[in-house]
């Protein structure tokens, strides 16, 4: 049995009356590419946001590499509001509520549904800045250039990374001036610069045509192997999902409705009803 890298256990995220993620449990194993699919508004992005610390889930536990990184149970106002499953289950657990940067530091990096590059920065600086987190320096030593060697190392590594992604020729261009597809690739390169073990991709192929989507899939496999990553992605392009993922989780209204290998999921009537539709 493969060891699991990411594990969600009964995760629930409630906004006021809306339960965006409802008692969701899933696992992502080391070295896998796992896809999360489901209709619009099913709660996929919300689930990602719970993992990365942007939201603080209402209930449930998330562990990464065997360590609990998020844990919560209904408190305060939520206590009255939330009466779903497992409401009491985690009351004894110490709540863990990391900020996104802490999660990233643990080794989870992500990309965004709508590209979020740093607009005023060059391609090079976008990647270089992502290395800031792991740099060994403080504000004084950095300002007074006492750690110039560290800076030099960061620059060399950035250049190497860009070289690898075939982005080096754009190094001094503004990130936003790149074509869309390259921006996606740059966003992934930036995420890699944080030296992650797990990469979360939110609709990496949005706005790409089938051909570009195909290339993207190959690219993901390539970096996964090279950096020994685990990949967890949200996607609506079924060609990409079915061809490249090892396993698929399907959610609807925040709940898991199906999971398994692409073949299994594709044939599941629940999934066809809620998501895929009947192909003509």
């Amino acid at each position: 049995m493969a060891e699991n890298v990411l594990r969600l256990e009964n995760v629930t995220m409630q906004f006021g009356g809306v339960v965006a993620v409802n008692n969701l449990s899933l696992e992502v194993n080391k070295g896998e590419i796992v896809a999360l699919i489901g209709p619009n508004g099913a709660g996929k992005t919300t689930a990602f946001n719970c993992v990365t610390g942007i939201y603080d889930p209402t209930n449930g536990m998330i562990s990464f590499d065997g360590k609990t990184i998020v844990a919560n149970h209904p408190r305060g106002k939520m206590k009255k509001l939330y009466a779903g499953e497992n409401a009491k289950r985690y009351t004894g657990v110490r709540t863990v509520d990391p900020t996104p940067d802490q999660v990233t530091k643990l080794g989870i990096a992500r990309t965004f549904q709508n590209i979020r590059l740093w607009k005023s920065m060059t391609v090079f600086d976008n990647v270089l800045t992502a290395k800031h987190m792991r740099a060994r320096q403080n504000v004084f030593s950095a300002t007074l250039r006492l750690t110039y060697q560290e800076e030099k190392r960061m620059r060399e590594e950035t250049a190497a990374l860009l070289e690898e992604q075939n982005l080096l020729q754009y190094a001094s261009d503004l990130a936003v001036s790149l074509p869309y597809g390259l921006q996606r690739r740059l966003e992934i390169a930036r995420a890699l610069a944080t030296e992650p073990k797990l990469l979360l991709l939110d609709e990496p192929a949005a706005g790409m045509n089938p051909q570009e989507t195909q290339e993207l899939g190959e690219f993901i496999v390539q970096i996964k192997n090279k950096y020994q990553l685990t990949v967890f992605m949200i996607e609506h392009h079924m060609d990409l999902v079915m061809q490249f993922s090892d396993r698929i989780y399907v959610i609807d209204f925040g709940r898991l409705i199906s999971h398994g290998t692409p073949a299994v999921v594709q044939a599941d009537p629940k999934v066809i009803n809620a998501y895929l539709g009947v192909s003509e």
Binding site: D101, F112, R116, K119, H132, R145
Partner: protein, 375 residues
Amino acid sequence: MKKKNKAELWIAFAAIALIYVAVAILEQTMDNNHIIFTVLKKGAIYSLVAVSMNLLNGFTGLFSLGQAGFMLIGAYTYSIFTMPTAVKLTESVYKYYEAAVKFDTGIFVGLICAGLAAALFAALIGLPVLRLKSDYLAIASLGFAEIIRAIFQWDVLGPVTNGANVMRNYLDLTDVKIPFTDIPFPPTLYVFLAAGVCIALIVLLINSSYGRAFKAIRDDEVAAEAMGINLFKHKEMSFVISSFFAGVSGALLAMYQYTVQAAQFKAAMTYELLLIVVIGGIGSISGSCIASFLYIAASEWWLRGLDMGKFLGIDAPNLFRSGFRRFVFSIIIMMIVLFFSRGLMGDREISFAGLIRRFNRRQTAGATKGGGIDG
């Protein structure tokens, strides 16, 4: 590419050195009471605050309007610390109170303490305020500045702050001595040195890994946080550092002005600084400096004649009466804002290579487009 950068850096150094030499020579040869020195001193001090404000507003994207408050803290800390104990105790300044601070320090220690006091305060108010977004942050920081001003005017603190009355007789620019001697240090040069060192530190910071992190926060907070940049830590850092330098510049302003009073550090002062930062170009250090000098020179020197009956040789006491200067000045500002909506420099810096390139271009061909400014 690397080589060209190096060369440019050296040219920049040379140019800055040249400015210093020019100031030193000017001060040795010209009458020291000429208004030009007022402009130079105040301009240098405003450059420092403007740059520190730019660090926060321009580079970190935190829209804060608390600058005047931090300058106030710096100015008061400096004046309280450096006012000779004898003066404090002789009633001449603390007329209505018994001075409570019974020690004094030198100028250097005073300046550092001024910065530290402002930084400390910034660290405290940063905790609640930095959670707020854009305009809410602006108004909250403006509010804090007003609260600080009220506290410094409070008569209960009179023994320390002299209530709402002026602080004076502390060590000012005339008390600066050349180290280990009793020879007075040229005051304008001193202000230039002090402000220059501070600005240099800010520039080094901005070009370091931390500076990039600040810019990342400005461009996209969510992405910055997702890439492992601790938002609060970095915002607080930028806020504290910016306030430190605002405090130092407050102290320099106190030195230059000979007297300080809390009443002067009003919201209007912050607006004025914001105006300078934007006119210079948000995110441009050299822009802030140039705008500071131009702003001070125009408002306090070049346009004075508009107020005093005679301007550019035209004698028209009825038109050029009191208030006309400010009227004209505000029209000029509006023009700049409307026609250079990104400021004089945009977010670029002056670059000597750019200047040279422009110069060459003009000499060789008729190419007109492009500026002397460059990334």
